[in-house]
């Protein structure tokens, strides 16, 4: 199994080729004039501001919700809620934008109430557009993910801690500070920077809900430079800035906060502090509110759906594209999972040897695609390949390859904790028993199976939502469902577009639910009791 020595060069060469493609195409490599333009600094400032606020708010709001889920294991439909959280994260921005506009826009369902509230208390009328709209959309997409991860992270707190706390008669504040905070701090920090990077790269949402040129992110500037001005030096300068700033921040924080080790899992009873009726009521309210917040944007789109009548031709087109989308995404997701597995090998070795720096280095390489601007990667590769390969014929292969590359970081981050945990618990035993690779795998697979399938679901739906890469490498006979939606939308057929979006969403949802369902097909937790293995273990992960 020396596949990882192939995996690293492969993903690194993809990025290098992209940058090489752009650098060798432009005559000059770097546009220093841009660095003297105050415009550049104002958009950099805005990008940082909105990303930081989005990340802080998402995590800040997620913490009380996750704690509620954790402390009240008997909440109705909790499993469904957690899956739904994942769905919000992968919902195409097109749907998020229309949903929020239908809900909170000038003629939105909620707007009359918001207006009267704002008029009474703030002497101002409600306005979705501006920083508020950007933040609402970013929170809507990322907060649910944070809830999920923090919830799963809280589950790693050993029961003994709670028992001890109750014996020592710690009050709520002390319990929070001594027991929960250490767990929240490490996962919260990672989540903060993960969401920060995602919002840093945000584009369509920022422009659509931003309200004017004051809301411009680096990604907008890259798009403009690369596409409208075809100014490659400028695009490269912006891309380097993005890599340095987003990447630098990301790596710094993962380095500072990413070293908490998973506690060894034990077969335990789930023991939670007792609650008084008031806090139970409060929990129910928080839970119900969270459901509302997540569901409302989707519900507000339903009325538009009932107006549309799809012709048989449209249905066939949608069905055909859906089939293509699913097939491409399945291939990309399987490739990404295999690649992630290979990429994780040296990381696991380094972790076993407690070589922190080496581990960090490998991890940075394995997940670098997260911070590289996707647009630059795909355009760069396009520029490199166009004179060399018949892209009309083979473009679709690069749609798959690039999609694979872009979801690898998610797969790596999600698989990592479980694999490290396996090594920590069983590596010595496996070595002392001199297990063959095959036998070892037989033990390892059941241990990682659940998280493996859940991750597969996530990367699958992420790849299914792609438009950016398809817009560059795709061709009409391979039209994917998201691309078809954009096609409808850009020729007035907005009802068809929203119906097709719903079909896409339903497809994503069914994949997520199916794969999650499969992972918990074994005994589900009975009251106050978990089976030997926790149903879903995501641990110290980002996605």
């Amino acid at each position: 199994m020396r596949l990882h020595w192939l995996a690293y060069p492969l993903i690194l060469s993809l990025t290098s080729l992209s940058f090489y493609g752009l650098i060798s195409f432009g005559d000059e490599g770097f546009d220093t004039a841009l660095l003297q333009d105050s415009y550049f600094y104002s958009i950099l400032g805005f990008t940082l501001k909105q990303a930081l606020l989005s990340a802080l708010l998402s995590v800040g709001i997620a913490i009380p919700i996750a704690r509620t889920l954790y402390f009240f294991p008997d909440l109705p439909a909790k499993k469904l809620f957690l899956t739904f959280c994942l769905l919000c994260f992968v919902t195409p921005t097109l749907i998020v934008i229309t949903g929020l506009v239908a809900l909170l826009g000038r003629s939105g369902f909620m707007t009359p109430w918001l207006d009267s509230f704002f008029n009474t208390f703030m002497d101002n009328s409600w306005n979705l557009y501006g920083l508020s709209g950007i933040l609402i959309a970013h929170i809507f997409m990322n907060m649910p993910l944070a809830v999920r991860i923090i919830y799963l992270q809280l589950q790693t707190i050993p029961d003994n801690s709670w028992k001890l706390a109750s014996q020592l008669k710690l009050n709520q504040g002390q319990r929070f500070r001594l027991i929960e905070w250490p767990v929240l701090r490490s996962s919260g920090l990672l989540l903060l920077c993960f969401i920060f990077v995602l919002c840093f790269n945000s584009f369509a949402v920022v422009l659509a809900l931003g309200g004017g040129p004051q809301s411009t992110t680096l990604e907008v500037a890259i798009y403009q430079a690369l596409k409208y001005d075809f100014n490659i030096p400028e695009a490269l300068t912006l891309a380097w800035t993005q890599l340095l700033v987003a990447g630098g921040l990301y790596w710094l924080i993962t380095r500072a906060g990413g070293l908490s080790w998973q506690s060894v899992e034990s077969n335990q009873y789930l023991w939670r502090p007792k609650h008084n009726p008031a806090s139970t009521r409060r929990a129910m309210i928080i839970y119900a509110l969270s459901w509302c917040v997540l569901l409302l944007p989707y519900l507000s789109l339903l009325p538009g759906l009932f107006n549309s009548e799809l012709s048989g031709k449209d249905l066939r087109a949608i069905g055909h594209s859906a089939l293509i989308s699913v097939a491409l995404a399945v291939i990309a997701a399987l490739l990404a999972m295999a690649a992630a597995f290979a990429l994780l090998q040296p990381i696991r070795q380094a972790a076993l040897g407690a070589q922190v720096k080496r581990m960090w280095l490998y991890e940075s390489m394995a997940t670098h695609a997260l911070v590289a601007p996707a647009m630059v990667l795909s355009v760069g590769l396009f520029v490199y390949l166009l004179p060399r390969i018949d892209l009309e014929r083979w473009g679709i292969i690069f749609v798959v390859i690039l999609n694979t590359a872009l979801v690898i970081p998610f797969a790596v981050q999600k698989l990592k904790p479980r694999l490290l945990q396996f090594d920590q618990q069983y590596n010595r035993l496996a070595r002392s028993l001199k297990l063959t690779r095959a036998t070892r795998w037989q033990i390892e697979w059941p241990f990682i199976q659940e998280i493996y399938l859940a991750t597969l679901g996530l990367v699958l739906v992420l790849a299914m939502g792609d438009v950016a890469i398809f817009s560059i490498f795709g061709s009409p006979e391979w039209t994917t469902l998201p691309w078809l939606i954009y096609g409808y939308a850009s020729s007035y057929r907005i009802t068809e577009a929203s119906t097709a979006s719903f079909i896409l969403l339903a497809l994503c949802a069914s994949f997520l639910f199916l794969l999650e369902k499969y992972t918990v097909s074994r005994p589900t937790p009975i009251k106050n009791k978990t089976p030997g293995r926790q149903p879903q273990y995501e641990g110290n992960t980002h996605a």
Binding site: F25, G212, K227, I324, L386, G487, A489, Y492
Partner: protein
């Protein structure tokens, strides 16, 4: 699993067909099944007894970018879907050659003299409103900007209509454009990346006016039987977007390319394009659905492609620093 991959395999085989006699680069919505592409293709193939292939990219600007990358290795014989704001750059990078098609059949209003680019449809940027919400529409750009009516338009950095509005404000206000942008910003709902985001927000009733084309109402009447959407006629005149075709400098088949360009402005093609691409025909006396007679007919103002190419960056900077 086999069943799943059968259609995919079929697609691979379909794409690997031999090179066509005439390869046309165009944008995606042109060749979508509801766009003009399929009908034009079968009509032209019947006429020339040859094989025509469309290669579709994202949009007009992507056609240009693709040629810039491919240079002499391009497969394109004809470029279809650039607009008048891109003609200067394309010419400057010597990517096209004279088309040699007679221009005297074109509408006089277009005043078209360009020997490299041939128009095949056009439209006027216009603000669309819903008559159920607006009873007294504004009658000039000044009135709109000085009003407090809510407006959604597209970002001039990332979209063609947005760039159209930028030219429009510049043409009407000249040096006073920054103040006008500033005033417009006070009642601008938002500025979107592309056309459809703005238009779908407008259809959700999120603005009184949205920037689009004077032909937009025709779509609502013909495809949806909705009469409430109208374009506002502005007394200062409107900026036009003229979509053009050109022959690639590197084509192996200039004769067939020229034949295709002539076909584009033939009555047959000009009857297909308006009701599939939702723009106006470039020649007179084309039989069109009745709704086209009721569209507003603005006077044309604006700049030459050369002026646009020279000033675009400055104007963009002006917009971005004053439209806050």
């Amino acid at each position: 699993m086999k069943k799943l991959f059968a259609p995919l395999a079929a697609c691979v085989l379909a794409t690997s067909a031999h090179a066509a006699d005439l390869t046309v680069y165009t944008y995606d919505s042109f060749v979508s099944e509801w766009g003009p592409g399929p009908q034009l293709e079968s009509a032209f193939e019947e006429q020339c007894q040859c094989d025509l292939e469309f290669i579709a990219v994202d949009d007009g600007i992507s056609i240009l970018n693709r040629l810039r990358i491919e240079k002499d290795k391009t497969k394109a014989d004809v470029l279809l879907g650039l607009d008048d704001s891109l003609t200067e750059v394309t010419r400057r990078e010597s990517l096209v050659q004279p088309h040699g098609v007679a221009l005297d059949g074109l509408k006089a209003e277009l005043q078209w003299q360009d020997q490299d680019f041939l128009p095949y449809d056009y439209g006027f940027f216009s603000f669309i409103y819903n008559t159920e919400n607006i009873v007294d529409p504004v009658t000039s750009l000044r009135e709109l900007i000085e009003s407090d009516a809510s407006v959604i338009y597209q970002d001039p950095r990332t979209s063609t209509p947005g760039q159209g509005l930028m030219l429009w404000v510049k043409a009407v206000y000249g040096n006073l454009a920054p103040a006008a942008w500033n005033q417009l910003a006070t009642h601008t709902v938002t500025v979107t990346k592309g056309w459809w985001e703005a238009y779908s927000m407008f259809l959700e009733d999120d603005a009184d006016y949205v920037l689009s084309y004077n032909t937009s109402p025709a779509y609502h009447v013909i495809a949806e039987e909705k009469n409430q959407y109208k374009a506002a006629l502005f007394s200062e005149g409107h900026i036009a977007q003229i979509e053009v075709a050109a022959i690639s400098r590197y084509t192996d088949n200039p004769e067939l390319s020229k034949e295709f360009l002539s076909f584009l402005i033939s009555p047959q093609a000009q009857t297909i394009i308006p009701v599939t691409n939702w723009m106006l025909p470039v020649v007179d006396n084309i039989e069109l659905p009745e709704v086209f007679d009721h569209l507003i007919q603005p006077t044309r103002i604006g700049f030459t492609p050369k002026q646009v190419a020279q000033q675009r960056k400055v104007w963009l900077r002006e917009w971005r620093s004053s439209a806050n």
